[in-house]
């Protein structure tokens, strides 16, 4: 770790003021990812601003749904009675990620800010356009078994690691952000994380110095018909090879709308728009599930070591649909 100055922000405006003064400053919430990156010299902030004192850890009902404080812990969020009852797909996704210790530390806002676990990104001796723009991508022709099959570019094939974010994408969440001048803006979740294109160093659409204050969940009608399925190398405490969050708004046996997002397959939570469009107003049958999954996976572009993710993605989608239907 390189030396850094440590300060504790007393309130939001102080946090924004401090980060504005220093170009190489970073916010600290749970610290579970940034500290690891700092130890590896992947992140080298010279100023750390501890957000632990800010009053942003409330989870509360609103007129439109539920507001998750940016600093509420993952454990608290997954176990909140309202989340377990009305947003079980979010509880399940959070509990699919990391370990109990890490979920106790990790904040909701920090979860969205975690960086890829691509091993070439982590190894500072390797070229990586995300870490050092313009240096090249070692994963493209390296071991890319864990990497993307959707939306990658010739600059970057990394995947986004969060489970929580996959559920938030399916739930059409909004990310509330405080800007430098103190005003707030709201970012639809599907626009929060970005595809790599020519700028893989950018994971999301936040500007330097903006602070996530909350994640807003709209009401939904699929709590009793939702699922989060994660396929990984170990039974627990491993990143996803493929994961699927699914929710069906049903009328009888007809799917009014489907909400589907995939993890482990792209640089951002991959909203399965083709499968959603196909399933809309269709009967919730196994045959339709297969067609929807086939259609979604038909546009996948595998790398040299991850062709298996296409069949795995298809089977995981179908399984997630079946579990969601059963409720």
């Amino acid at each position: 770790m390189i030396p850094f100055k440590f300060s504790i922000a007393k309130n939001q405006s102080e946090a924004l003021g401090l980060i504005h003064q220093h170009q190489h400053a970073a916010f600290l919430a749970g610290g579970t990812n940034i500290l690891d990156l700092m130890k590896e010299h992947v992140a080298q902030p010279t100023e750390i601003i501890d957000l632990g004192r800010l009053p942003l850890s409330t989870i509360k009902s609103t007129n439109t749904g539920i507001s998750l404080g940016a600093l509420a812990k993952n454990t608290e969020t997954a176990n909140h009675p309202l989340i377990r009852k009305d947003y079980p797909v979010l509880s399940k996704a959070i509990l699919a990620g990391a370990s109990a210790q890490i979920r106790n530390m990790a904040s909701n806002g920090g979860n969205l800010m975690q960086r890829t676990r691509c091993s070439y990104f982590y190894d500072i001796n390797m070229p990586c356009n995300k870490r050092v723009p313009g240096s090249g991508c070692a994963a493209m022709k390296g071991f890319n078994r864990m990497h993307a099959i959707f939306g990658w570019s010739d600059q970057c094939v990394a995947v986004y690691p969060s489970d929580m974010a996959i559920a938030l994408s399916a739930l059409n969440a909004n990310v509330k952000v405080m800007q430098q001048n103190g005003s707030e803006r709201s970012i639809p979740f599907t626009d929060f994380h970005v595809l790599p294109k020519d700028h893989p160093e950018k994971d999301n659409s936040l500007n330097h110095g903006e602070l996530i204050t909350s994640i807003e969940l709209p009401k939904n009608n699929f709590a009793s018909h939702s699922s989060y399925i994660k396929v990984r190398d170990r039974n627990s405490y491993a990143f996803a090879l493929v994961s699927v969050a699914a929710g069906f708004e049903l009328e009888g046996n007809t799917i009014k709308t489907a909400h589907i997002a995939m993890g482990g397959v792209a640089h951002k939570p991959w909203r399965a728009l083709k499968a959603e469009a196909f399933l809309k107003d269709k009967a919730a049958t196994f045959a339709n599930f297969i067609k929807a999954a086939d259609l979604e996976m038909s546009s996948a572009k595998p790398l040299s070591h991850n062709k298996f993710k296409i069949e795995m993605g298809k089977q995981t989608l179908i399984h997630a649909f079946e579990v969601a239907l059963k409720g």
Partner: protein, 260 residues
């Protein structure tokens, strides 16, 4: 009148007089300091203490508290932070480099070496401690962010000479082989008892929406909820049995079959 009683025994005084004469007066007037021990260690490793075995044994058997580090003042280190938090039964105030993790602070500055540095990257759980009631990874926690918090380490679980029920269960079931992961396993398991009592869910909870209260932990639940603590020796069946016994208070047989 003779001087006030010496902080040293006659054998210890002779050792200092012969081997570290320039330090003797200082020790007599202001007591033993950490640096005296460091020098003694150096002499010991060079084999120079053989002629003073009795005095050396007495010195090394001393339990000396070094709460303060008098030769460092806040301006002495770059990015120094004064932080104070409760560790087990007492409050500790330390001056640290801003980069220090809670784990390094506990081990290297406060002298509590029970918490172990396994991977130092949040992957193994050997550094698990309980902060404000919740299990966390001390290797991924900056000590500077712990101001005012309350930390329980493996050293703080026993009450006087009576082990915590989880420690007793680990002993009874041989919940370890080499023991390196054990402090983290036990701290993790102690916090797990609280989580189960509160009815917290896990990824293998059958119905997340059903919030029925306290959870009685099955083998599968324990495996999932303890997955952040790796045991390289593979004592998992014993650990699972120990946790079940601590939760139920009943004698538990080990189950060797669940790994299938």
């Amino acid at each position: 009148m003779k001087q006030n009683k010496s902080p040293l025994s006659p054998e210890e005084e002779k050792l200092f007089g012969d081997l570290m004469p320039e330090e003797l007066n200082e020790v007599l007037s202001s007591g033993l300091q950490r640096r005296h021990f460091l020098k003694l260690m150096g002499l010991a490793s060079a084999g120079l203490l053989v002629s003073h075995m009795v005095g050396a044994e007495q010195l090394f058997a001393r339990s000396v508290e070094f709460d303060e580090i008098p030769d460092l003042i806040p301006t002495a280190i770059e990015n120094g932070i004064n932080v104070s938090f409760k560790v087990n039964s007492g409050t500790k105030k330390v001056l640290i480099d801003s980069r220090m993790t809670l784990l390094d602070t506990l081990r290297e500055r406060i002298g509590l070496t029970g918490s172990k540095k396994g991977c130092d990257h949040g992957q193994c759980g050997a550094c698990t401690v309980i902060v404000d009631g919740n299990r966390v990874l001390s290797c991924l926690t900056l000590a500077a962010s712990c101001e005012g918090k309350s930390i329980i380490t493996i050293e703080g679980l026993a009450k006087d000479n009576e082990l915590n029920p989880m420690q007793q269960a680990f002993l009874k079931h041989d919940g370890f082989q080499c023991g390196f992961c054990t402090p983290g396993q036990i701290c993790s398991a102690v916090a797990l008892m609280k989580e189960a009592k509160e009815g917290q869910a896990s990824f293998v909870t059958q119905n997340i929406r059903d919030q029925a209260g306290a959870v009685m932990l099955s083998d599968e639940e324990i495996a999932e909820r303890m997955s952040g603590n790796i045991c390289r020796c593979g004592a998992y069946p014993n650990i699972v049995a120990a946790i079940k016994e601590a939760q139920t208070g009943k004698n538990i047989e080990q189950n060797w079959l669940f790994a299938g």
